[in-house]
Assembly symmetry: C2
Homo-oligomer: 102 residues x 2
């Protein structure tokens, strides 16, 4: 894990602590974060490809524009559950979901 990657994650709001703590980030924890960010990216790509605004997507899934923004920003305080529900609401199949995780 390089410094650039760390900086990018920290910018998104992930509290990675000191450099020492960061180096101690377990493979599991890292995989979890990467997985979330992969879903975030997928969500944004899918929404844009469908030409929907964040507000429109929010209405479809009975959420709010601000939460959609946070989802796409990879905000740590957004659950994988919500990301997955959003992707399903956009018509992404389980198969496609699985592919975007790997």
């Amino acid at each position: 894990m390089n410094k650039a990657k760390q900086t990018k994650l920290e910018k998104k709001g992930w509290k990675l602590g000191t450099a020492d703590e960061f180096l101690n980030l377990s493979a599991d924890e890292l995989a979890y974060i990467e997985l979330k960010l992969a879903l975030s990216d997928k969500l944004k790509a899918k929404r844009v490809s469908k030409k929907l605004t964040q507000a429109e997507l929010a209405r479809i899934m009975k959420s709010s524009q601000s939460r959609v923004a946070k989802m796409e920003a990879g905000d740590p305080a957004v659950s994988i559950d919500l990301l997955i529900k959003s992707l399903l609401a956009l018509g992404v199949s389980k198969k496609e979901l699985g592919r975007s995780i790997s």
Copy 2:
């Protein structure tokens, strides 16, 4: 969706309401539930294959035996986040995770 499947889900604690409501379960909602159950099953299979007890897995991931039991039971009040964290703690790769979702 047949009656047998409905019964099985309801037994796990999913509140699907009346038959009418059940028929109105959207494809998204169903996909979400199926996805969760797939992860539940994967978790149990993986734990058993590693010859760990629920209590041992709980210790590894700093949870509790009862929560592990609920995860494996497909309890609706367990997040996908926790299921995924558990699978990662058991050494499942993102790739394998993606495969088990699809």
